[in-house]
């Protein structure tokens, strides 16, 4: 929109630092909130959201503003946008395996579908994206391919984060082989392993 472009231009003109909206995308349980928490705790000392093994724990976009990341002399001021996981199916029966009652499962499923829609709409409103993949799982899924395709079409800078490298089942090479055209950084959001490499990549690519 011309008005938004004009505002962005004014911001760049009068503000020293550009504020970057960094979206965390991926399938449910890829570790998006764990990663957002890790980054936010490292630079702001506050978490972004609650983490759970039950899928679709994040059902609304969670925001943490003005997280300033510094790496190799570069500084980025970012709003972290932790998105609900994108899925093509939400079956309320899947939640019962985690001990949720039927009414809770139905409520969670309804909220989860709204969350997916919200995350999809936000694809048009981020300046850079971390596409988080669980490196213990097959990365070549339609959800990952569609997310990447839509970000590419809008020329939004993307870093693929191969998460959960602390697990013995992690296969980072599969992620690299599936998406050779993208920057892939392997991390463990849980332990913080390799997180500095991610900060370097963010400082280099998310502008």
């Amino acid at each position: 929109m011309p008005f938004r472009r004009f505002i962005d231009w004014l911001r760049r003109l009068f503000w020293r630092r550009k504020l970057i909206r960094l979206g965390f995308y991926g399938a449910p349980n890829a570790g998006k909130t764990s990663l957002a928490n890790r980054i936010s705790m490292d630079w702001l000392g506050e978490p972004v959201g609650k983490v759970s093994e039950v899928p679709h724990e994040t059902r609304m976009v969670q925001k943490k503003e003005h997280v300033v990341v510094r790496s190799k002399g570069k500084e980025l001021d970012m709003n972290l946008l932790d998105m609900p996981g994108i899925a093509t199916k939400v079956d309320y029966r899947d939640f019962s395996a985690y001990g949720l009652r039927k009414s809770e499962s139905l409520k969670r499923a309804k909220e989860a579908t709204k969350g997916v829609i919200e995350a999809i709409k936000w694809l048009e409103n981020v300046d850079a994206a971390l596409v988080v993949m669980d490196s213990t799982q097959d990365p070549f899924t339609q959800v990952n391919i569609t997310i990447l395709g839509n970000l590419e079409a809008r020329k939004i800078p993307v870093i693929i984060v191969a998460n959960k490298i602390d697990s013995k089942k992690s296969r980072v090479n599969k992620v690299r082989e599936a998406f050779p055209q993208h920057v892939v950084v392997e991390v463990s959001a849980l332990t913080g392993q390799n997180i500095n490499k991610l900060y370097e990549a963010i400082a280099k690519h998310a502008r």
Binding site: I86, T88, K110, F140, Q142, V143, I145, N150, A153
Partner: protein, 117 residues
């Protein structure tokens, strides 16, 4: 339970507008059909299909399994081939997730795993 597998021609898909195409897909998938679309969906169409699917999730319709295979119809190479009068080979397979358990893919093959109840 029977499985219905339908091949949808490029001609039919091109006769439909964007909205009509998504409605057609979801209507058929909700009738427990697995569709093979001769002309694969674009990434933007897939995104809109995900969104529409979420709007229609219910107890009886938990969602879809989908996979697109081959050249993306809107890619630069595809466009060039189309301009030169050629045909690109992308296809999309989509089915209800309560029937299609998984569509495994790698760069060279697609495998559809369906389960009858």
């Amino acid at each position: 339970m029977k499985i219905s597998l339908e091949f949808v021609s490029n001609r039919m898909l091109e006769s439909m507008g964007d909205d009509e195409k998504l409605k057609f897909i979801l209507k058929n998938v909700k009738e427990s059909k697995i569709l093979v679309l001769e002309k694969g969906l674009t990434r933007q169409e897939e995104r809109r299909l995900f969104q529409r699917t979420m709007e229609q999730i219910s107890k009886s319709f938990p969602g879809i399994e989908i996979s697109s295979f081959g050249e993306e119809p809107e890619g630069l190479r595809s466009r060039l081939i189309q301009i030169l009068g050629g045909k690109t080979q992308g296809i999309t397979i989509v089915g209800p997730s309560n029937l299609v358990k998984e569509i495994k893919r790698d760069p060279d093959k697609l495998r559809v795993l369906a389960e009858l109840k």
